[in-house]
Amino acid sequence: MMLRIALFLLALATPLRAEVTIQEVISPGGIKAWLVEEHGIPFTALELRFKGGTSLDRPNKRGEVNLMTALIEEGAGSLDSQGFAAARDALAAEFHFSTDQDGVSVSTRFLTDNRDEAMGLLRLALTKPRFDQDAVDRVREQVLSGLRSDAKDPAAMASNLSRAQIYGRHPYGSDGSGTIESVSALTRNDVMAAFQGAIARDRITVAAAGDITPDELGVLLDELLADLPAAGTLQPGTAEMTLQGGITVQDFPGPQSMVIFSQGGLRFEDPDYFAASILNEIIGGGRFSARLMTEVREKRGLTYGIGTSLGSYDHAQALMGQFQASNDKVAEAIKVIRDEWANMAANGVTEQELADAKTYMTGAYPLRFDGNDTIASILVGMQDLGLDKDYPKTRNAKVEAVTLADIKRVAARLIKPEELHFIVVGQPVGVVNE
């Protein structure tokens, strides 16, 4: 229901209410996991994440990790695609495999009363995927269909332009799903190689939430993961960013233009990160009272929605935003955003804005708890950021500690009008490349 900002999904710390107790579990075989026990409903959510994702694609093999990920559930061991799906459905287990630029995620839910069978099936998929040629061909066609759609989808077009402009030849610079050409050329051997490179124990993060005890989880993890290869492919290096203010227009027919704007960000480890995240909240965060929402939508009616996010990825960081507007309103919207950027860099925020953002962020914090699968995914994100399991107890204090002077300093450091670049896909009136 929120504005679609799929591109900017963050691995941001998303911790819990203080009373949720996170336990660290070390399996007998040495696998570390975080667990929130919740025995109220007879199922468990288990989340696995393998660091790397589509950025591990080899040169000229763009899309191989994405295709591989989509194929993990298409048959394993003695089961073909149909057999695997039937077995999974008979257990009412849910396995979801996905990938992004920083990792492969395995999100699962399974019932307590057939947990062992469900995990047996998942182990089969993670250790003995078949990658049958007919499945490779069939799923490849689905990926290609998606890529053909993206070629005429303004949001995808804008993302791809933005990525290429900022990150160039680094894997971040192109769509992890690949291109029509690269995906068409992928072979079953490529898929196998991608699997061996991406799914390994040296890059795994694990969390569970639900109806399972620490001992049960430890045994489960050893059985599930022991047969995975110890090590996979090397991770890619830091993405060099090319940031230059301006506007890039890509012609596309339709009543509206899709606009993405971006500039450099801050690493999560940066001491100013908390102040920067409050700043982002005030500019274009999740609230209707955020500045851009107020100025562009509520006061002027130029768009249905606008938002920004402070993205801290494994190999780069950026402050980005997006909106859609009628072609004759794009120019005015861009001017409003530029004015806000300049204003923010020069003046920071008001005492009241800071206080409101703080009460929102600290109050909203415990509400992030929203079911077992959400918690499992949050716990994986926290571990990937290197956070302590007691972080949820100290997080709000870190938000509270940010002062108006901090915000002013960080605004001057972070907000760079001269770096802000707009990608416009559409037929905007009075907007040209600059």
Partner: protein, 444 residues
Amino acid sequence: MRRTLGRALMGLFALALPAAADTVSNFTLDNGMQVVVIEDHRAPVVTHMVWYKIGRADEAPGHSGIAHFFEHLMFKGTKTVAPGEFSATVEQQGGNDNAFTSNDYTAYFQRIAADRLDLMMQLEADRMVNLTMSEEDVATERQVILEERGQRVDSDPASLLREQMSAAQFLNHPYSIPVIGWRDEIAALTRQDALDFYRAYYAPNNAILVVAGDVDPQAVLEMAKTHYGPLPPSDKIKPRQRPAEPPQLAERRLVLSDQRVAQPYIARSYLAPERNPGDQKQAAALAVLAELLGGSGTTSILARALQFDTQTAVYASAFYDGTSLDPETFGLVLVPSEGVALADAEKAMDDVIAEFLKKGVNAKDLERIKTKVRAAEIYSRDSAGGLARDYGAALAVGLTLQDVADWPNLLQAVTAEDVMAAANLVLNRNQAVTGWLTATEAAQ
């Protein structure tokens, strides 16, 4: 975002409605407002929703989009709360708020720490009767909604096809008109239209309060009595009688060509009965039918035949909701493989359906779906907010709590014969609309 179109956002699959009756309480205030409380004490959070039994299909002719437009205006201030202050107050308390409109209802909700429930009720009760809105705010918001239509419909050929297909599907019933409204009619909506709409439909006896989360039902009732109890009921609320759809006698077909289309596809909608109070058996059979035909990308009948046995399609699915006030549709979507003509893909799909109607239901398939239904009930208990939505939507279209509680059992009780009877009733092209979305002109 806030003030969005419910129909587009709600899942179309009817399988996941929960029973969990032991944690649900039901009251009615003296002024006629229904109060439903769903307890979930795992986290100190509450979802507070007010559902109005008024939607797009209840609008006066020529005023399409007023229900949704008005939903936006509910955030534009009351005698004591300034425009925008509602959301700002919720946000200052660490909560989020939003609203959505469908053909049959309009709902407003906040998700917030459980100890702030009283404030939410105070704010929500206030805007049920005390709304004010300036001409200027109405004018700006109209622009926002035209932008919304531009973003969600006019920029998206798939949305345009859905809109055209609904218009073709319903000759007489108002489900023919899009929830957001036709552009020219939205542009003509006035502040007076909004005020008239407000006075006619916003009253406690046309509303349902649903509270889900870490709350005590008696305490919620007392709070509701304090805030909603004093509001006067309206004597203008009438039974919702809409023009009925006449029998469809002939197949309807359309082709939408748009240069922005990269991936052509086929959509089919069949007129289908909905869930009715005390009478949901047929709808349960249709929900199971949708799951059997196209509920899984691997094991469903359409997927097996068109994606596995042959490579006709890259995607095939079937869907049915059934939670509506009046008869709605049973849908199919088919995305052909590269190089497969739409006509050939459609024929293959129809052959699969004909074959299914001849051969009947595979017992194993039926068992697999029932397992899935049982698990869905367990998984759905993990989200109190989701439960609040499920209950609110069902009640707002006239179903009862008993109907909601019965639904999973009815799904479990569906037999192969029930499915085939429903399939034979619904899967008839003379009661259907078939739409093609193409990049260029295509001959049908």
